[in-house]
């Protein structure tokens, strides 16, 4: 007898009641008890929608029109409410803020158990067990909105695990986590999988998922296009479905390895020496001309807020045409640094010069002409009815609107087809492109991108890579704020490594990564390409 926890029988789904495009189109899946599955595909391929059919949120919460049948542990979802199904399948959503609605972590975990109507003693027992398993016992009395992003993700998972589901479904859990916290969540997921709980993880970051899972399901335009063990699936043309292959898999393919290596260790055990490896190192950037003008200079800037030293003595220079990556874990002070540079925060010590001019006396609106920033969440800025207006509104407010430049920008970011659409109706990647164009609309001498790759698919990363090289060739100075080291290694001339509000290293990427001590201090790991190709990195 098969122990399917989930069976979908030719399901189609659209969010509209009548008409509308099928977001899921003829999906047949059988998920056995205890499987660890990666669900992947480009943005808009239907991953999140499919996840929501597994616990009855579709159709009960979203309405729309669902054809075919989903059964969860033998229960047909159309006939059972979410309240009946939540014991079987637990959902961890992408945004931790919206799923932590209690005042203490303890209450957060107890919430599902209270829903189950368990007696008090049983709730206490499960609480103790789960908080030990997830290793959050020291957080129990904290407010879940006042802990770090990584801890929030762990608490969200604990709150679901406590209910004791047979399967736990996670929607892009790694999207906003830095490498250290990804590592913590990964180990937790492996642990609960070993205890027999099934795991479905929907994620773009293959490097962090394929080594862990047993099965990989690729969605494309609402259909399952590939399904099987990762090493097999990755030998197919998955790039055309918007996935970005891990470096080790690309190397394995070129070497013609039968079993594709899913991480660095697997690849290294397959090759005898570095010489045998195909050269997949990032293409070196053209060096800057010596006479390149310095557009930004910060001298030992510090920032104190409510008596706490948030940032301490950070110095940097940025030249025309240069890309400087500010890298570090979440909470290292990267975004604070950005806000100090454009005057949103005022430096408590040190000085900032924009093209030689001291910025201490300049207002944010004056600095806005020098520094264009695309913050991580574009939804914070959209308020116009069309993409066109959204791009130009800043330039108009600054009285430096230039029609020809805006046309160039729309071409560069391939926004022509979107100009008349509402910015809110766009996909995540499209929104980011609009925000980039808006940040450049006033022709600032510096463009700053805050975590541009977070939660984005392979299509977007490739496009962003193209934008970056185009901007470099135009002599645009770029500040890249990120914890995505692979991307920063490809596109930045220099790194500024931050840890706990301090600058701990500065220099070309390879030089920074070569210093094991500072990397460990900053909670980061060298990139795969560094580990593979730098002789010093080989153990």
């Amino acid at each position: 007898m098969s122990l399917s926890i989930i069976k979908t029988d030719r399901i189609r789904y659209t969010y509209q009641k009548v008409g509308g495009q099928w977001i899921l189109d003829d999906i047949n899946l059988k998920i056995e008890q205890g499987e660890y599955i990666l669900l992947c595909g480009a943005s808009g391929s239907g991953k999140s929608t499919l996840c929501r059919t597994f616990n009855g949120l579709i159709p009960h919460f979203y309405g729309g029109s669902l054809k075919g049948e989903v059964s969860v542990a033998g229960l047909i979802t159309t006939l059972h409410s979410v309240g009946d199904l939540f014991e079987q399948v637990g959902m961890v959503f992408q945004n931790p803020e919206a799923q932590l609605f209690n005042f203490t972590v303890k209450r957060e975990i107890a919430f599902g158990l209270e829903s189950l109507g368990l007696p008090r003693a049983e709730i206490e027992t499960r609480l103790a067990k789960i908080s030990e398993l997830v290793d959050i016992s020291d957080l129990l009395n904290r407010n879940p909105h006042e802990i770090s992003g990584g801890e929030q993700q762990l608490v969200s998972i604990a709150a679901i695990l406590a209910i004791g589901p047979k399967l736990i479904v996670l929607d892009e859990p790694y999207a906003n986590l830095d490498p250290y916290n990804v590592h913590r969540v990964r180990s937790l997921l492996k642990k609960i999988h070993r205890e027999g709980v099934g795991v479905i993880i929907s994620e773009h970051r293959l490097r962090y998922t394929v080594p862990d899972v047993q099965r990989m399901v690729v969605l494309h335009q609402g259909r399952v296009v590939l399904d099987g063990p990762p090493a097999e699936v990755l030998s197919k043309d998955v790039e055309s479905f918007g996935l970005e292959l891990p470096l080790t898999v690309r190397a394995g393919r070129q070497l013609g390895l039968k079993k594709l290596p899913l991480d660095v260790a697997a690849l290294q055990s397959n090759v005898t020496s570095n010489q045998a490896l195909p050269d997949l190192r990032p293409i070196p950037l053209t060096p800057l001309p010596n006479e390149a003008e310095v557009v930004l200079k910060a001298e030992e800037i510090s920032f104190v807020s409510s008596g706490d030293l948030i940032l301490s003595q950070v110095s940097l220079t940025l030249k025309q045409g240069e890309c400087l990556a500010v890298v570090g874990a979440n909470g290292a002070g990267k975004t604070t640094l950005l806000k100090l540079l454009n005057g949103l925060y005022r430096v408590s010590g040190g000085r900032v010069f924009m093209k030689g001019q001291d910025t201490a006396k300049l207002k944010v609106s004056q600095l806005a002409r020098h520094v264009g920033i695309a913050f991580q969440n574009p939804n914070n800025q959209f308020f116009k009815l069309s993409v066109r207006d959204e791009i130009i509104v800043g330039a108009q407010a600054l009285e430096c609107y230039d029609e020809k430049w805006i046309q160039e920008l729309t071409q560069l970011f391939r926004l022509e087809p979107l100009l008349d659409r509402s910015p809110y109706r766009l996909s995540g990647g499209e929104k980011k492109r609009v925000a980039f164009a808006a940040a450049l609309a006033a022709k600032p001498s510096i463009l700053a991108l805050d975590e541009p790759t977070a939660g984005q698919d392979g299509y977007f990363r490739r496009a962003l890579g193209d934008f970056m090289s185009e901007l470099r060739s135009r002599g645009q100075a770029v500040l890249l704020i990120t914890h995505d080291l692979a991307f920063a290694e490809q596109h930045a001339h220099r790194w500024l490594l931050m840890s706990k509000g301090r600058m701990v290293a500065e220099g070309p990427p390879k030089q920074v990564m070569a210093d094991n001590n500072v990397m460990a201090l900053a909670g980061l790991e060298p990139t795969d390409s560094f580990r593979l190709y730098e002789p010093t990195a080989r153990q």
Binding site: F86, A98, Q99, F101, G117, I123, Q381, Y424, A438, A439
Partner: protein
């Protein structure tokens, strides 16, 4: 310690007492009692932050009263507002809103209503953080949304992103609550809410003191 309902009722008693007090000196004493309570529960630092918000409000209220009646009435009005808001501060700094909510459910309030009450308090800081992010994003691109007259002309730049995200947050919250069995019949509670002997005792004593003070105030 005490049941949240006891604390709520005592707070209401205290507010009544403050409202009927019309002497500056008795208001000073009433406020002083609250302050010593705050110091005793070591919430002094948080109270100072709260004062930064409330003192200007009280002074403004006092000034208006001064202007329309007289100086003494103004001082009394300002202190009254300060003492009243301090009662709420003491209540909320010693009571988790969800404890209050759950206890009220025990007394017959519908669960959904109590939940809305406590959860909306949890999301006040979230929304204000979002508001700050929106302000930052707009100011960064030169839209003057700084507090002030010019902001009025640009209010859509602030309100539209904030409202849309607040609705989105509400929807995500609803979805996640649903997925954790919100509204399923037969809910139990981690904590037991019971009005014990000490609650009744404190309530009785509180009531007596209040009555005594009311009479004394009227003499």
């Amino acid at each position: 310690m005490f049941d949240p309902r006891t604390k709520l009722i005592l707070s209401i008693f205290y507010v009544i007492l403050v409202v009927i007090s019309n002497r500056f000196s008795s208001l000073v004493v009433e406020w002083g009692v609250l302050v010593s309570l705050i110091v005793y529960t070591s919430n002094g630092k948080a109270y100072l932050r709260w004062l930064r918000l409330v003192v200007p409000m009280s002074l403004f209220f006092g000034a208006v009263t001064w202007w329309s009646i007289n100086g003494e009435a103004g001082a009394v009005a300002a202190l009254k507002l300060l003492a009243m808001t301090t009662v709420f501060f003491v209540f909320f700094s010693t009571t988790l809103p969800e404890d209050l909510g759950n206890a009220l459910v025990k007394s017959g309030m519908p669960y959904a209503a109590a939940f809305v009450l406590s959860t909306s308090m949890q999301f006040v800081p979230v929304i204000s953080r979002k508001a700050k992010n929106v302000l930052d994003a707009q100011r960064t691109r030169g839209i003057p949304v700084e507090p002030g007259w010019s902001a009025l002309r640009h209010y859509p730049a602030f309100l539209v992103p904030l409202l849309i995200q607040a609705f989105q947050l509400a929807e995500e919250l609803a979805e996640s609550m649903e997925s954790r069995g919100f509204g399923r019949p037969g809910r139990t509670y981690l904590k037991d809410y019971r009005l014990g002997a000490q609650d009744w005792l404190v309530l009785g004593v509180g009531f007596l003191i209040l009555t005594a003070l009311c009479v004394w105030q009227r003499l």
